[in-house]
Point group: C2
Chain length 308, copies 2
């Protein structure tokens, strides 16, 4: 596979871009984004990276597809980092012992060492590390994000083993009503009413999928997909449809509220703990660079932007 060698503006050595696929239980993290003195996923992983590359600085930093809030989980988070050829080679140093048949593989070694440092029973796990295809950008190259939100209503189970990933809702919820509401919201719209205003970027997004199901064990699961989400949008969409499912709002009201383009108190933004980032979608490899360029052009600078 060909690798991405990026020549930076200064005379830094060329770098190779790696993709990380990451899962975490968000309960004990103050979200993805590195913050001073708080435990965050990015902070944990970058700290481990700096340990791994102590003898080969600089320590790489991570760029992520979905900057999850405190308490939000991920089973399919994607991030990238750039390493120098020297750093990559340092992962493939031949071992002292007999290496017969050993397949040297820097990215796999990186994943193994990251997991070793954060701990094998940790709440964060690097599922895979790989050399990214040319033009890959975890954030700007993504074409969609898919989340799920879990609710246990009065008809569902109270399972303490699932308490950190399931909202307990005291009343009985009508799934069919929620699905009418969810369907009415699909499409390309301005979601300002469903976003926390601290996001400086656009609030125009395409809601591609939004469906509630009652699983065999009685738990209600919303599956939501969009090209991207503005801050707290999934949790607002869930709160709005729950208000319908509970009989507190008519279906038509959700569209009316959306079209007003301002925040409302008619539904609640549900807690983070029910939310999991399941998957991030990317275009075929040969369209990656064009996609990242296109997205980057539409977005404001990173400074000041809030996490989703």
């Amino acid at each position: 596979m060909s690798t991405t060698v990026i020549e930076t503006a200064r005379t830094d050595p060329p770098v190779i871009r790696l993709r990380l696929d990451i899962a975490y239980d968000g309960s004990q993290f103050f979200g993805w984004t590195r913050q001073p003195a708080l435990r965050t996923v990015q902070g944990e992983l970058e700290s481990a990276l700096s340990t791994i590359f102590t003898r080969h600085p600089p320590a790489p930093t991570l760029m992520v597809a979905g900057r999850t809030d405190a308490g939000v989980h991920a089973l399919g988070q994607v991030a990238h980092l750039d390493v120098t050829e020297v750093q990559l080679a340092s992962l493939e140093r031949p071992h002292r012992g007999p290496a017969k048949g050993r397949q040297l593989d820097g990215p796999a070694t990186l994943a193994r060492r990251l997991n070793g440092i954060v701990g094998l029973s940790s709440d964060v796990y690097v599922l895979r590390a790989s050399i990214a295809p040319p033009g890959f950008d975890a954030r700007f190259g993504a074409i969609w994000r898919r989340y799920e939100y879990r609710v246990s209503d009065a008809a569902g189970p109270r399972n303490p083993l699932e308490r950190n990933r399931t909202l307990w809702y005291p009343t009985r919820i009508d799934v069919e009503g929620m699905n009418y509401a969810a369907e009415s919201l699909l499409g390309l719209h301005d979601w300002a009413s469903y976003c926390k205003p601290r996001d400086l970027g656009t609030t125009i997004r395409t809601l591609q999928e939004f469906r509630w199901t009652r699983e065999p064990d009685g738990v209600l699961v919303a599956r939501v997909r969009a090209d991207a989400f503005c801050h707290s949008m999934v949790r607002a969409l869930v709160g709005a449809t729950l208000a319908v499912g509970e009989g507190k709002l008519p279906v038509s009201r959700l569209v009316e509220l959306r079209n007003r383009l301002q925040r409302t108190s008619e539904f609640k933004v549900v807690p983070a703990k029910g939310l999991t980032l399941l998957e991030v979608g990317y275009p075929p490899d040969d369209e990656l660079a064009a996609r990242a360029e296109q997205t980057r052009a539409k977005r404001p600078p990173i400074v000041g932007r809030a996490p989703i």
Copy 2:
């Protein structure tokens, strides 16, 4: 429904027996059994009971069907407690506000207040409290216990959200081989080789069901049922069949080891965290008293017995 009123030997007031159905995440508990200065499920619940009955002593104690070890979970644990008529009535005191249409129900109030005290997002949850049928005894009346054990092998997922209830196994496991092994063990046998010797009771048990499946998400789940289990027996059965599934032991060896009636180092007792007590079975109500008497006669006194 008729209630059990038990006349004790001394001149204590008659008591009503209540049944509790309980779920918990065992990760943060030092097992079921109350211990000084350690957080245990029994300790948490009895502490809450003593708060609820502060004005109506004595505080009830709990008798349980399966005294789970530290780290073992439960979704269908069963316990009983005896309350006086005064205590039960104290749960049904009329409220100050308008009580129109309110159905007074002492056991339901007890469950609600217990959950309120331990906290609604706690790792222990009382699923239901009910007045026990005559002759009911959570421990001595039980006719079977059903457990599951979860393993994620090299072909399974590494899901940090499931890390406290799933053993991560570094190699690939052959499910078919494990099932041959599991089936060969079924039936009424002396399980001394599969029990920790600190159990003073009989090691003769009937292994009624033992089957491994690979779930749709790739996780391996063992489902095990017996009339009762001696200490660490489920975890030894799981360890033994994993040794077969990994190719380290032939199927026939498990029966040979069992028939030697002494502990072995040829397989490992797997960690507690993969284990969950799913369900406890009781006979029809009219056979309860006879069953409890029969079991009690076969068992040694409680003092000195280890938890399962």
